[in-house]
């Protein structure tokens, strides 16, 4: 018996089909060439002695001996944990209300709730300061009427505030996708057994949606841990990611510490991802039945309805305040130390109108290609991790997730080092082709899509695939006809997140853009936002970017709702 069992296990261990092995190798090659190799060309400095000597770990000893770095490490940890809490407070009500109840404007809310993720670089920061800063609109009015100010944007609390607003969509998107995937029969069964109200939510709905929540929360944690733009905009320097960035990008300092911090960031991020995987391990979240159209939606009583609308409106007002600020800024003449701009004009839009079409076209091409690559690779990795027993499949997951922790500037320099020497037939460096920007964007945004795909696949029961295979379907056919359609919601969530965030990414792009005709919107923004006269036009370009990405998001929601409705009609 035991022999039979063990041979059975062994057989299962080797049961990977050649197709699966080939897929794993392809993914590994992709990550190796476009992530590991370029990063390694830069990061190896962390392990060398002063002046590029032999291998050493002395730099890591220095890291733990330096007060500044230790303080930065704890600050980063604290801010990330608090940002997850803050983001959950914003995301849970929105996800719950829109998925649980018959609620007008669900698509609108989910799209609007998604917008904070698309904060164009630089202008976003300016708009945020003009609204919430020490002398922003809110504080100037508070000071006028009540005689006090609230330091929204000061120090670590400021970082937590801004990061919660900025990244809560990660939780919203993944949780909403997970809630939609829960079959109503589960809920009905619980109701038949007497559960209702909050107990039903706590014991049945939320646990079943757990993979989605964990996927979102772990993304928020790691993203905040690795984000440098927000702390720098608030002038908070004693956190890890800003420390790494400041060191890597300063002239004349051949300092290994920047790369040491990068390594620490990577290790910490992978550890956080592994922890979140541990949290959901050993629990089966999948349900067999599909096609029930998610949770049964309840109609709200008038008073409940009022409370729900009020909650949603308040949250949306808070999280969209930066975008309102951006919109105002794009129409304002001069806005300085006053609650509202001095005057309004459309001149900024006229100025960027002509030149922005090339940026828009490039952004759409780059971001959608990057999003596509991400969901393909993300689905492949999720499938390998959850559905095969291949050796080292988890390593693929972790390596891909580590991309979150590699500072964009490190990846940018790595791409130049790795690919600039390689030449096209006419001597054009490989690194100067725009496709390289797409690949860099895809690598940087891969973790987003990966988490979404992973969560989606986690919710699908293997028995559905086994049934299909028992009925004679090949592995490939099973994936195509059973797994992919059922994962569609998660894949879309992954695509949208990757696409939207890639559309406003700057740090790696800035290193790789070779000519204005190949530049995306974020670069155009950067070029404008270095001068006083460029602030208005920059804001106008920022608004264009946000509207563009939002439109694409709504469109993809419609497409999915359509296909969902279509497939349900077929049933």
């Amino acid at each position: 018996m035991s022999i039979a069992l063990s041979t059975g296990r062994a057989a299962r261990g080797l049961s990977a089909t050649p197709g699966q092995i080939a897929l794993a190798l392809l993914v590994a090659a992709f990550l190796g060439v476009f992530l590991i190799w370029p990063s390694a060309t830069v990061i190896f400095v962390a392990f060398t002695e002063k002046g590029g000597g032999p291998f050493t770990l002395v730099n890591f000893v220095d890291f733990f001996r330096t007060d500044l770095f230790l303080r930065s490490f704890w600050n980063s940890l604290y801010v990330s944990a608090m940002a997850v809490a803050g983001a959950s407070i914003l995301a849970l009500p929105l996800a719950y209300i829109t998925s649980r109840f018959e609620f007008r404007g669900t698509i609108l809310i989910q799209t609007l709730g998604f917008l904070p993720l698309i904060m164009p670089p630089f202008v976003g920061a300016v708009a945020m300061q003009l609204f919430f800063g020490r002398n922003g609109s809110v504080n100037l009015l508070l000071d006028d009427w009540l005689g006090f100010k609230i330091p929204f944007m000061d120090g670590l609390n400021g970082v937590i505030f801004v990061q919660s607003i900025h990244y809560f969509p990660f939780i919203l998107i993944n949780l909403s996708a997970a809630l939609r995937n829960i079959d109503s029969s589960m809920e009905e069964a619980a109701q038949n057994l007497g559960a209702s109200g909050f107990r039903l939510f706590r014991r049945i709905v939320f646990p079943l949606a757990m993979p989605g929540y964990i996927a979102g929360a772990s993304l928020v944690f790691v993203k905040v841990f690795d984000d440098l733009a927000t702390p720098l905009l608030l002038n908070v320097k004693d956190m890890l990611a800003p420390q790494a960035y400041l060191r890597v990008t300063s002239i004349g300092i051949a300092d290994p510490m920047g790369y040491v911090i990068s390594v620490v960031l990577i290790v910490a991020s992978v550890a956080a991802m592994a922890l979140s995987a541990l949290a959901t391990r050993g629990i089966d979240y999948s349900t067999v039945q599909r096609g029930g159209g998610g949770l049964a939606r309840r109609t709200l009583r008038p008073l409940e309805s009022f409370a729900a609308y009020l909650t949603v409106t308040l949250i949306l007002l808070l999280v969209l305040a930066p975008h309102l600020g951006l919109l105002l800024l794009s129409f304002s003449t001069v806005w300085s130390y006053s609650p509202l701009p001095d005057g309004f004009t459309v001149a900024h839009y006229l100025r960027v109108f002509g030149e922005s079409s090339v940026y828009i076209k490039n952004t759409l091409i780059y971001a959608s290609l990057a999003g596509l690559i991400d969901v393909v690779v993300g689905t492949a990795i999720a499938y390998l991790v959850l559905r095969t027993k291949l050796v080292g499949r988890n390593a693929l997951d972790w390596i891909a997730s580590a991309a979150l922790a590699i500072p964009g500037i490190v990846l940018g320099i790595g791409y130049l080092r790795a690919f600039y020497g390689l030449q096209w037939w006419d001597g054009t460096p490989l690194a100067s082709l725009w496709i390289v920007i797409v690949l860099a964007l895809a690598i940087r945004r891969l973790p987003y899509a990966l988490r979404a795909c992973h969560a989606a696949l986690q919710q699908i029961s293997v028995s559905l695939e086994e049934a299909a295979e028992n009925l004679g379907a090949t592995k490939l056919r099973t994936v195509r006809r059973i797994v992919m359609p059922l994962m569609m919601g998660g894949i879309l969530a992954g695509f949208v997140t990757s696409f939207a965030t890639a559309a406003v990414e700057l740090s790696a792009t800035l290193m790789l853009v070779q000519s204005n005709s190949d530049a995306p919107l974020a670069y155009g923004l950067y070029v404008l936002m270095q001068s006083a006269a460029g602030r208005g036009p920059g804001a106008a370009l920022g608004v264009i970017a946000v509207v563009l990405v939002a439109a694409c998001t709504i469109l993809s929601h419609f497409v999915v709702e359509r296909s969902r409705a279509g497939s349900q009609a077929r049933h």
């Binding site: 001996r65 300016v126 054009t428 001068s531 006269a533």
Partner: protein, 440 residues
């Protein structure tokens, strides 16, 4: 799009290989830190004046630009480097990434103030001048009832506590020169004392040069230590800001240079000639640019009230700036500023605030003992972990260049200096608090 881009590149490379030594033609690529508001008018005028040449602008911040040129030198596609900070050009020159050229343009003097306009070795050329000073938001000053500052020392006064901003010199070449100018003008010990007294009033230390004028423009911070054109172009855009040059400052040129192995050298030379020509110099008067031309003659066509460094006695009598000295201790000054000020800002501000309070209390009820305590507190803040000679010594500078020679690692020195400052600031704070108690 890819095809068109490729075709252009092919054409450009064909043109550039066949047409050298003839009239400039084809694409000329410039890496610059300047915003679109600066590059667009220049590009337009240059392309109109030099038919057949297309200027391709690659916008990167100065540091990223230097890194980019360095990383891509094996297969260089860049013709020109165009930015403000002379030290970035020194770095490029030191790494052999620039090539010599002798501009033919006439009418440009050898020096502006005490600073040579062109690199004496001929690797880069000044095309505009800039001075450093204090910029402030008038609405902010009025709302907070703050007086107009005249000198650096004014910013150290209690009234300006938490109202001043600066860019980190390690991140902004222009700020680095401001700090170095104060150090050279007042001497190492006195200079650092002034800088740290000012720093006690800093609201923040930003990581990019434009962060400071941006914060002053929008009124988030009242006063900024900036390069002049940030203030002039903000004024031209209608922002309620003012600017002054303190006595101890320096005028330095913003530069352009030809990158080594430039693919289109002829067009690169044409661009430099254009920038230095009277037509190119006059573009600097544009409201969105507002820099000081290096050709004294074109000031005849300047807008009213435009500062003229060749005429203004205040700007002309500025201190003699020792480039070699600055270059030798470049990294040390940056790291000292970061470790003693940027990363210790909270303890430094706490100590400064305590001193301001002690002085206010002593103003009401004076005591010699209290005054002595405050003086001690100020000395503790001003104390430096290294003296001037050590700062330029090879064993100190070697820690920051990644050289193989024996000596402390950068991280070790940084930790030492940071611990030194933290300890002194804490002591200063308790001395000042003692003084407050005495005066009560």
């Amino acid at each position: 799009m890819m095809h068109r881009g490729l075709m252009l590149l092919v054409c450009a490379s064909l043109v550039s290989t066949t047409a050298f030594a003839q009239a400039p033609a084809g694409k000329v690529t410039v890496v610059t830190s300047y915003s679109k508001d600066v590059t667009d008018p220049v590009k337009k005028a240059f392309e109109a004046a030099t038919s057949g040449v297309k200027l391709e602008v690659q916008n990167r911040n100065t540091n990223a630009g230097v890194k980019y040129v360095e990383e891509t030198k094996a297969n260089n596609q860049v013709d020109l480097f165009w930015a403000s900070a002379p030290d970035a050009f020194e770095v490029l020159k030191g790494k052999g990434l620039l090539q010599k050229y002798a501009p033919r343009a006439t009418g440009i003097p050898e020096k502006i103030g005490q600073f040579p306009i062109n690199d004496p070795a001929g690797f880069y050329f000044g095309f505009a001048a800039s001075g450093y000073g204090i910029m402030w938001n008038e609405r902010y000053a009025k709302a907070n009832k703050l007086p107009d500052p005249r000198e650096w020392q004014d910013l150290a006064k209690a009234a300006y506590y938490d109202h001043v901003s600066i860019a980190a010199p390690s991140r902004s070449g222009t700020t680095h020169l401001t700090i170095e100018a104060v150090l050279q003008g007042e001497g190492w010990a006195k200079g650092w004392s002034t800088i740290k007294a000012m720093a006690g009033n800093f609201r923040n230390v930003t990581e990019r040069s434009f962060g400071v004028p941006e914060a002053v423009n929008s009124g988030q911070v009242g006063y900024g230590i900036v390069i002049d054109f940030f203030a002039f172009s903000a004024q031209a855009s209608g922002f309620p800001v003012k600017f002054i040059y303190p006595t101890v400052t320096t005028i330095v040129p913003a530069n352009v240079g030809i990158v080594a192995n430039a693919p289109n050298k002829a067009a690169a030379e044409a661009f430099i000639e254009f920038l230095l020509s009277p037509a190119g110099q006059q573009i600097l008067f544009e409201p969105s640019i507002r820099r000081l031309p290096v050709n004294p003659d074109v000031y005849a066509k300047a807008p009213p009230d435009y500062p003229n460094p060749f005429k203004d006695p205040r700007l002309n009598s500025m201190l003699k700036f020792d480039v070699a000295k600055s270059e030798a201790r470049n990294d040390v000054v940056d790291v000292l500023f970061d470790q003693l000020i940027s990363f210790q800002l909270d303890p430094l501000k706490a100590a400064t605030k305590a001193i301001h309070e002690a002085e206010a209390a002593l103003g009401k009820k004076d005591s010699a003992q209290g005054r002595a305590l405050v003086a001690q507190a100020r000395e503790l803040i001003a104390a430096m972990p290294v003296d001037e000679a050590t700062a330029s010594a090879a064993e100190t500078t070697g820690a920051f260049t990644g050289s193989k020679q024996k000596g402390a690692r950068q991280a070790e020195l940084e930790q030492q200096w940071a611990a030194f400052a933290k300890d002194r600031y804490a002591q200063a704070k308790s001395k000042a608090e003692e003084a407050v108690k005495l005066a009560k």
